[in-house]
Every structure is written in C-alpha cells, then in structure tokens.
C-alpha cells in the first residue's frame, strides 16, 4: 500500500465517523419527532390520525428536493471546475435522494388512499416527484455502467444538468394537461393553513430530515473516498 493511499483511507474513516455521528443524532431527532407528532400534536379534525403521515411525507419530499437540486448545481459546477469532489458529492446526494424519494413515494399513497380515495393521481406535483425518482435512478444506472471515473463524472454531470432543466418542463406540461380537463374536486389538494402546534412539529421534522440528509451524504461521501483509495491501491499493486 502506498503512503497517499493510506492517508486517503484514514481521511475517509474520519469523515465516515463524522457522518455516522450526524446520522445518529438525526435518527434520535426522528424518534423525538415521532413522539411529538403522535403524542403532543393535535389530531386534525377532518383527516383524523391519517394526517400524522404529513410530518414524515413533507420533510422527506423537502430532503429529496434538496438532494436533487444539489445534484444539478454540483453537476454544472463540475463541468466548469472539473473538481472530483463535486462529482463525488453529486453521486452521494443522488443516492441519498433516491432513499428520500422512496420515503416520499410510499408515504404519499398510504395517506392518499383514505383521504383522496385513491392511491395515485396524475396531479402535477405527484407526476413531478415520480419523475424526479426516475431521473435519480437513471442517473445512478448510468454511473454504475461507466467504468472510467473521469468519463463517469463528465457523463453524469451532463445528465444532472439536463435533468435539472427537465423538471420545470414536466411540471408545466402536466399542469397544462390537467387543468384543461375537469378534475374531481375531492382529489384537489388544498393548501392547509396550519395551527401553531402542527407547524412546530412540521418545522422540527424538516430540520431533522435536513440533518439526516447531511449525515447520510457525509457517510456516502466517505464511502466514495474509501472506494477510490481501494481502487488506487489495487492499481498500484
């Protein structure tokens, strides 16, 4: 093993420890959110207990959106600066984004079935988030199928940038598509104005999910560093 290789892997270990600490703190916070949401937040009058899922669903969507936006921004920056750290970050953020998207896409239908009467509807926001998920998956599939790290970084940066610009187009076209047709009024999600106790729980949960995002991305970034150190050591040997 070369000197720089072991230095890199010890840096990766230190970063992994930090990521683990942040993630554990976030998971503890998540337990707090559960208690707060179930025990100390009032039950919504019309939706009943089903509304509780809101405190997981919305923050997960928030984290997925952050993850996705940062993939787009770091991709654009990568093509400009060619800094491998940007590429590593984009890859980590995309993987964590898939996890949060999956939470969002599973909690959504569970809530929608009792409240809207259907698991799924082709509403603009739903379609948009589904496509975010598909774009993430495509991005990761591309990364997995390119061997050369430098080439992988360039290709995925291009997909990241194009994907970021696709999102408004999908939103706009689905929005136009739906509004030109009559919609069942029951399915229409109305913007609720929250009482302070509910807002407090939501904000805390959003903070916890943001922290979880930071923790998981840090862990994933450390893993990417360790993988690179291993590959370099294998090449040197």
């Amino acid at each position: 093993m070369t000197g720089s290789g072991s230095a890199a892997s010890s840096a990766a270990r230190a970063l992994a420890r930090r990521g683990l600490r942040i993630s554990l703190a976030a998971l503890l916070g998540l337990a707090g959110v559960y208690v707060l949401a179930l025990r100390f937040t009032p039950v919504e009058l019309r939706q009943g207990p089903a509304q509780k899922i809101f405190y997981l669903h919305v923050p997960a969507a928030w984290s997925a959106l952050i993850a996705f936006s940062l993939v787009g921004v770091t991709s654009a920056l990568y093509l400009w600066l060619h800094d491998p750290r940007l590429d590593r970050f984009a890859a980590s953020s995309a993987e964590v984004g898939v996890a949060f998207s999956a939470v969002m896409l599973t909690t959504g239908p569970i809530w929608a079935k009792p409240i809207w009467g259907t698991w799924w509807t082709w509403d603009a926001r739903l379609t948009l988030t589904l496509f975010l998920f598909f774009l993430f998956i495509g991005y990761l599939a591309l990364r997995a199928s390119v061997h050369d790290p430098e080439e992988r970084a360039r290709f995925s940066a291009v997909v990241g940038i194009l994907g970021m610009l696709l999102v408004p187009f999908i939103h706009l076209s689905v929005y136009l598509f739906r509004t030109l047709h009559p919609q069942p009024v029951v399915l229409k999600p109305s913007a609720p104005s929250l009482p302070p106790e509910m807002l407090r729980t939501l904000l805390l949960s959003t903070a916890v999910f943001t922290l979880l995002y930071v923790g998981l991305v840090t862990l994933r970034y450390a893993l990417a560093l360790a993988e690179e150190a291993r590959d370099e050591a294998a090449d040197a040997a």
């Binding site: 495509g138 706009l172 076209s173």
Partner: protein
C-alpha cells in the same frame, strides 16, 4: 457561422450516405414502427374504444419507440473501427459535430415518421388530409426536442455497458413533455379545433426545443472530449 454550418452538413452527409448504402438500420426501424402499429391495434378492445379516440396516442408512442431504436444506432456506427476518434481529430468545432449528428438523426427519424404516417392512416382509418400541414409542423417541433437530447445520450450510451438499455432509461423521462404536447396538439388537429386552442402547447414545445438544443450543443464536448 457559415463555416460551422458547412461542417455540420458534411458530418450529416457522411452519416446519411453511410445509411443509404446499407439501408439496414432504416429498413429495420420502419418495419419496427409498422409492427408497433399492428400490436397497438390488437392491444385495444374494439368494442370498447374507437380507433380514432386512441389514434393520437398510438401515433406518438409509435414515433417515440421508433426514434429510440433509430437513436441507438447513431453512435454505434462511430464506435466501430475507431470512427469517432477520427471525427474528433478532424479540425471540427464540437458544436458543428453535434449539429451534424443531430441533423443526420433528424433525417433518419423524420424518414421513419414519414413512412409510419401513411401506415397509421391505413390501419387506423383516420382522416388526415385537412390536418396534414399542422401535423407535419407539430411532428417537427416535438421531434427536434427529443432527438436533440437523444443524440447526446446515445453518444454516452455507446460507451457504457448495456448501451441498448441505458438509452431508453435515460431518454424516456425527457420524452414526456414533448410527447404530452404532441398528443394534445394532434388530437385537437384531428378534431378540427382552432389554432388558439393549441397555442399554449406549441409554445411549450418550441421552448423545449430552444432550451435543449442549446444545452445539448453546449455540453456535447463534455461527452466526447477526454
């Protein structure tokens, strides 16, 4: 600018000549499109759904699938015998190279669409004559957008494992906005609706073309240059 256009046309001309000499890819793509139309006819319940109600969707899903097959070929021909290296060594701005590949792909996909359209009329008994100029216009508008994204993705896909699978997974989400717009405009054209009802969709399609042709031209060098 004129020089770039000349170079782009030279690249496109090379691709089109190569295709015309063998004709295998073009023929296969046309046969594929015809088969998709046939499959669609049997995939519906004729007692429940009239062919004309389904026509715009059938037409556009067929176009999209045929374009996918056609785009897979765009850079596979460059992979053989290091042809792409030759192109990259030529004193050729990357923008002109992209424009050339895009034009060749548009010619290829356009030909497949032009052959599919009469077959569509034949199989689905749609009265197209009045709507034909509009239909050609919207087809061009929608095709330019997704073929542009498809061109850059096919340049990437040939360098990956599972190239034939990678292109659809990457490209299909990008086909959604042009496809929604094209289906909406097509069904209004076939129903003889006034232009004002399609204007919003046409604007969206045009905006998509401008954004993605520009973006793909700008990022193309990041895909091909080491």
């Amino acid at each position: 600018m004129a020089e770039s256009l000349r170079l782009a046309l030279a690249v496109a001309g090379k691709d089109i000549r190569a295709e015309l000499r063998s004709r295998t890819a073009l023929l296969s793509a046309v046969v594929f499109a015809a088969l998709v139309l046939v499959v669609f006819n049997f995939a519906r319940d004729p007692t429940a759904l009239a062919a004309t109600d389904l026509a715009p969707s059938v037409l556009w899903v067929t176009f999209a699938l045929a374009a996918m097959v056609a785009l897979n070929r765009a850079f596979t021909i460059e992979r053989e015998h290091g042809a792409l290296d030759g192109l990259l060594l030529a004193p050729l701005p990357r923008g002109a190279l992209f424009a050339g590949k895009l034009l060749a792909n548009l010619a290829f996909v356009g030909t497949v669409e032009a052959v599919t359209l009469p077959l569509f009329v034949l199989f689905f008994n749609v009265d197209l004559w009045r709507a034909l100029p509009g239909l050609i216009g919207v087809t061009a508008l929608a095709t330019i957008g997704f073929v542009s994204v498809g061109t850059i993705f096919s340049a990437m896909a040939v360098r990956t494992r599972f190239a034939e699978l990678m292109l659809p997974v990457l490209l299909l989400p990008f086909m959604v906005p042009p496809l929604i717009g094209a289906v909406q405009v097509t069904s209004r054209l076939l129903a003889g609706r006034p232009l004002s009802e399609m204007l919003g969709w046409l604007r969206l399609l045009a905006l998509y073309d401008v954004v993605f042709v520009t973006l793909c031209t700008m990022t193309f060098s990041a895909v091909v240059d080491e």
